[in-house]
């Protein structure tokens, strides 16, 4: 079975974000593999261990520098990868079309993984769009996965610790959630090995993807400024507790 993992090259969540021209970020910050995608890779490797002969392929739409993220994916165990190089920002509608074309051109997906969302655009939807384009079933925020001959059983995390259990036919699309597994850090030999694994580079224009009639475009980006002015609550434990109660009552009006 061929397992495709759609990965994204995103700014480190701890990076300081500077906005340029009021509509894009200064990209001179540390970029890395989207954290949720690590769970997708880890799960793919587990499936490959269960079904020897499977192939795990990481796919990324991003700038040339995204090769770094693909190397990370391969250090974590992906066999090879595909980079669709593009400097432009693509919305989830276009991204899904492009990823679908790249996967279709490359092989025959038995499973497609994504992270449940990317930590930069936080759109939460590309997995569903890929599923719809392929006409594959989709589950997102998957925290448990059992694979059988022609179906998968997944638990998806709902609110308050509640899970839904779905059965999906194969092929299908899985949006990996954080509870799915614990990604391991690659060892030094893994990293060395990943440097020798192949990265297939495709030009976006070669995929001949038609432009969708719908889109989402970022027209302005501004920093979220903190406007809070902290005020200290002093006293002993009892006095502090009493002051908090007063704030909750008088100011916040929640009790």
């Amino acid at each position: 079975m061929q397992i495709y993992i759609c990965v994204k090259h995103v700014p480190d969540s701890a990076a300081h974000i500077t906005i340029l021209d009021k509509n894009r970020i200064e990209e001179n910050v540390n970029f890395l593999l989207n954290p949720y995608d690590e769970h997708a890779i880890t799960e793919s490797i587990k499936i490959k261990d269960k079904y020897p002969g499977s192939e795990v392929i990481a796919v990324c739409l991003g700038k040339q520098d995204a090769e770094k993220t693909l190397r990370s994916a391969m250090a974590m165990g992906a066999d090879r990868s595909i980079l669709i190089a593009s400097d432009a920002l693509h919305d989830s509608i276009a991204t899904a079309r492009i990823l679908k074309a790249a996967i279709e051109q490359d092989g025959n997906p038995g499973l497609i993984f994504t992270g449940k969302e990317s930590i930069d655009s936080e759109g939460m939807q590309t997995q569903f769009r890929i599923g719809a384009l392929f006409d594959f079933p989709v589950a997102t925020n998957v925290v448990r996965l059992d694979i059988e001959a022609d179906a998968v059983i997944v638990d998806t995390q709902m609110s308050g610790g509640i899970a839904n259990t779905y059965e999906m036919t194969l092929p299908c699309v899985i949006g990996a959630g954080r509870g799915l597994n614990t990604p391991g850090y690659p060892t030094f030999p893994d990293v060395v090995k990943s440097k020798k694994k192949p990265v297939k580079k495709i030009a976006l224009t070669d995929l001949l993807v038609e432009t969708a009639h719908s889109s989402t475009n970022i027209i302005a980006l501004e920093p979220l400024t903190q406007t809070r002015t902290p005020e200290e609550i002093t006293g002993n434990a009892k006095e502090i507790a009493l002051k908090i109660v007063n704030i909750l009552k008088e100011e916040a009006k929640v009790i």
Binding site: S13, R129, M168, G179, S214, L221, A252, V254
Partner: protein
Amino acid sequence: MMKNVGVIIELDNGRVKESNWGMITLARQKNTKLFAFVINAAPGKLKPALELFGITNIVDICFAKDWENNPAKNPAVWAKVLINVIKEYHIDAVFGLSTAMGKDLMPRMAALIEAPLIMDCFSVDLENNLAKTSQYSGKTIATIKLTGDVLLFGVRPNCVEPVEAQVSSEILKFEGTHIHSKGLKVIKAGDTDKSSKINLAEADVIVAGGRGMKNAENFTLLFLCAQKLKAALGASRVAVDSGWVPYSMQVGQTGEKVSPIVYIACGISGSVQHFAGMKTSGMVIAVNMDENAAIMSTCDYYAVADALKIIPELTKLL
């Protein structure tokens, strides 16, 4: 031109969840006609409340009982039925809550008709087709232009103050017959109707604990306090990774994103990643032993104190 705007009503035990009212208020804009999409409920009971918030058309979506595979709980079936409703009533824009349910439903709908969708938005301008949402771990606010025949908005719970606007409404019956979901079956749907636990994403008050709570047992102190406050219990990643509380309680970048009226952070240092999940809270109260913790300079009230001593005192007073 008049726009037909649909709102997907999220129910809890047959009642309209509180967070719907703010969402409806956001959807009610100049030149809009509001359609409430009510799935598998008794719309007659909900009618007076929906009318109070400006809903003129209630679309009562019911499923035939003889369907296989529990379609009533199948998000793939719901998405298809809702797309039919959108077509039937010439809906221009759809609002839903960006809750766990919304996150499993709205992207399915958007994908089926390749419509633009912004999840977790807190501001929508239907005249110019713009939505605002946070990006880059909550460090920026993006204004996004949507282009398409039907626009979808997943609204962050609690982001808009509910405002009433009394109208009268009619109920339109919509039979969602003969729709199946190819490939996805519901084996077990977690009983989201049991409201014994207060939902983190929709709570008015959240009491959250971090490293300063020291162990799992101490979270009981927070739980007792939260119970008195009718608050939800949250946690930082440290508390989750230490195994003190389950992941479902995590607030932050890789956990739940919340906007309660009050967020009480106990023994939480306030990492960038934690802030990403709670910075849109109304009021932040921090209790921490370390006066240099990041949270102390980015909150509204702070006490340099041991949360393990303050919380029991607070619980006594409630």
